[in-house]
Assembly symmetry: C2
Homo-oligomer: 529 residues x 2
């Protein structure tokens, strides 16, 4: 794979559309290639390459379909190239006009024709109206099964290709990834270097090659249907201090990311990993960063922030969903549910310890323990993130999946694919805890669908008691027994006809219990006939 | 006990000080009885008794000690009596001057001399600087062991005397109680009745006798050292609709409560019980109610709101501590801890199901289950509330402790006294979860004090592993085994000298484990020598 800009932006047709402009002012020559709703439209302009264009040049374009106007920021891509990227939220004709403090870039006009999306383009992921789940903009549910490869994007092309191959066809549909690497990476720098020391770099000059390379990784995820949860700051590189700049520099960096990346429909913004370990920023700084993302991103991508110990107040209006680290929150569904109830937003437990074999306790889950956490999260109506931390001996000298991507060595992945299939076969956009705040451990949709997960318990039978809400008696259900580790679905013969059992439960008096295998990792699914 | 106003306000000296004024304007005749810091000082004035004084008369007094000015609202107490109540936050001379739109009440002056508090007066309860616990204003820790008797204050004097007797010497130091009764009560009405129908009452005219009676109950709790967690609205009386008035009426009611009650130092404000079941108020109404309490109460009493299903956003600035209902939050300490971490405020689980024997699931905990919930809350650095719901057959025809107070029939109370003693013997102002977000189940203070509770597990031995933070090796601890049900403390002989065990733990290599009884409800306490 090549990292020249051209390569990144000429494939495939239908996802990208570009309009290139020669120098003569006011002469517009739209290339008018195929552009889809939620695709990426790019305006290319030639402008000054002297001075410091990152500081000196203001550039934006107003796009309108006649009903709304979207102001889209532009950015400098080096060598006198300026670009403005827009992802049309609706089909139809979007006329645009540029604004700039540079004459050559100001007052350019053109139009983009956004057609209906192709089959694999469902639009960006949004929070659903119920407030707790996700769906693509076209309404297709987004059943989050996340994973993390912090610095995969900064590895060699070969390693990145391997990562993409690993992800292709896997259950993972969201990947957490850092803009600034946290582990050893290819020798390319996000800022222009002014010397050979760690701190010898110019925070006012981005290195376009670095960001072209980074966005090509985002694009390669888009091509395989994986959301890119982009981690903007992190505490793991105090030596170089990319996350320790002042507010003026941070704002410029955020605006650069917005201008370059927000038009990719698979972009999510994660303000930080372990934000509370970044000693150079205050809570007011984080509020400001997230508020800026909210107000300045014309594409309104999802926004969250990930903690180590101090939970962010996810009730704040610029947070679209919670991104939580907690080693024990998904040891049962009840604790997981708590976060949902306090924030009333979707909750993703993006870090719940990792499958692996390192000595540190956060990186040595068995596959069973990893999968159990996902199931507890699902029953609670929340979502979970995976990663792997197998030691270099097992994963090769390049380090773990968590740090660099590559290949996976764990056993959780196929079981998470099984869980994802269960999710997809269940109600849209997701399930909710039923009779929460009681010892039920049941998620679903009242009257329609129930899922009970037994984790590391190994019951030999189970009373098929359904919580009363949504039931009147007479409803018929079929029951499946799921082995979540061996990935089997075994239907229980016949139907269950519900009748009131007591103050809180309905059941079938003719068959109040079912037999189970006595194995661990079992679940029961109860579906209205 | 008499409910005339005089009876309520003449005893005991030292808690009350009153200044009574005859009619002639500008002639002040302060009685200047003994007044303590945090005691109650009352100005009595004669004014109009025609028209509707509740609507027509504005009255307040500015109190100043020269350093600060406190504006204190007055209220109408019927029969031409107007009162202004002030609890001095500091010792010294507090000069005051009244303001009113009625000439007879305006421009009165006087002064109050606040002496140092007596031994049993520790001041009002405040949130401690660490943000998670409570202490009286003089710094004495307040170890909350709550209970609830919703409508005890509206029962007969005899029943109330019985309630006070039950509470005296009990572990309970906070009582949740409603202004408006939720169960059968004495035939006295908070508003002036205009007919015999349920809705025949005048929301613009309070019944002073009702509120005098109510405040005498608050006062009787103060006399025995119990905080009064006053529930302002509730959803249990749709028939009469006291909680369903409009905002103008609600504001007047809130101001009346503030003026009458806030000078009692044991008052806490609970905006509602099960606020989300009151269908006539929106979230904006609740915000407004709590913000009004925050801005208008000159004594800044604690403020919370109690839910049924929808948690209030306790991050809001007018909330001093969370008041949570959840049937399962304290089934383990980890879930309980979650609430603390998200709100970063003290958390009281005011409703966790009750000890009792009714058929409804929220009212049939065993004593063991009730006590277990308190211990889990304590390990998590949170607080819990008790009540009893034994059926009338057992508790007499007058109903349960939960509804009406009286006597208790349960077995939890002495065990809660034992827990309270453990709390009092522990660090001030309280303990915090240690190595939270891991499966530790340990609360305490790092390096100083550790408490591990086993609940309904029944281990025969336990590895004395202390989480690493706060330890370097060489520290010595003594260990006590607590039987939380049989209320015994058994010291383990000798000391434990800590050394590093692994990445996360310290222990004594010479004695890494201790034997336990194999019984349920055990705990281990580890105290630095």
């Amino acid at each position: 794979m090549s990292f020249t800009r051209r390569a990144a932006f000429t494939l495939p047709v239908g996802l990208y559309a570009t309009a290139a402009f020669a120098a003569p002012k006011k002469t517009t020559t739209p290339a008018a290639p195929a552009l889809e709703r939620w695709g990426l439209y790019e305006i290319s302009l030639k402008g000054p390459d002297t001075g410091n264009p990152f500081l000196d040049v203001d550039l934006s374009a107003d796009f309108t379909d006649g009903a709304e106007v979207v102001r889209v920021p532009g950015f400098y891509d080096g060598d006198g190239d300026y670009r403005i990227r827009f992802s049309p939220p609706k089909t139809g004709t979007w006329r645009w006009v540029t604004k700039s403090n540079v004459t050559a870039l100001d007052g350019q006009t053109g139009q983009a024709e956004a057609s209906a999306p192709s089959n694999t383009n469902h639009g960006p992921v949004k929070v659903t109206l119920d407030g707790y789940h996700f769906a693509y903009a076209d309404g297709t549910p987004f059943r989050q099964i996340g994973t993390t490869c912090y610095a995969w994007a900064q590895q060699s092309d070969e390693r990145c290709a391997q990562t993409i191959k690993t992800l292709t066809g896997s259950p993972y549909n969201k990947l957490r990834m850092c803009v600034f690497p946290n582990v050893a990476a290819e020798p390319i720098h996000p800022f222009v270097q002014t010397g050979t020391g760690d701190r010898d770099w110019d925070g006012t000059r981005f290195n376009p090659a670095y960001f072209r390379r980074f966005e090509s990784r985002v694009k390669s995820l888009l091509d395989i249907g994986v959301e890119a949860d982009i981690i903007i700051f992190h505490p793991y590189d105090e030596k170089r201090g990319f996350s320790d700049q002042n507010r003026v520099h941070d704002e410029r960096y955020l605006r650069y990311l917005i201008a370059r990346l927000s038009a990719f429909r698979n972009v999510w913004w994660s303000a930080a990993n372990e934000y509370d370990d970044i000693k150079t920023k205050s809570m007011a700084d984080w509020d400001h960063i997230l508020e800026l993302l909210q107000s300045e991103d014309p594409h309104h991508r999802l926004r969250s922030i990930h903690n180590i110990k101090v939970l962010y107040d996810n009730n704040k209006p610029w947070i679209t969903h919670a991104s939580v680290q907690n080693g024990t929150a998904v040891l049962d569904d009840r604790t997981a549910e708590t976060y949902r109830s306090v924030w009333k937003k979707p909750v993703i437990f993006d870090e719940v310890c990792y499958e692996g074999d390192i000595a540190l306790r956060w990186g040595n889950l068995s596959g069973q323990e990893m999968v159990m956490r996902f199931w507890h999260g699902h029953i609670a109506g929340t979502y979970v993130g995976h990663s792997e931390t197998y030691t270099p001996d097992k994963s090769g000298a390049d380090g773990s999946w968590l740090g660099k991507g590559g290949t996976m060595l764990g056993t959780a992945t196929p079981r998470l694919a099984f869980l994802k299939k269960v999710m997809e076969d269940g109600p849209a956009p997701g399930i909710d805890p039923i009779d929460k705040w009681w010892e039920r451990h049941v998620g679903g949709k009242e009257g329609r669908y129930y899922l009970r997960y037994f984790g590391d318990q190994a019951p030999a039978e189970w009373a098929v008691d359904l919580p009363r809400n949504g039931l009147k008696g007479g409803e018929q259900f079929r029951v499946d027994v799921l082995d979540t580790w061996n990935m089997t679905v075994t239907p229980v013969e016949g139907v269950f006809t519900m009748a009131k059992k007591d103050n809180y439960n309905f059941h079938d008096p003719a068959r109040p219990t079912i037999k189970l295998s006595g194995n661990k990792w079992m679940a029961v699914r109860i579906t209205r006939v």
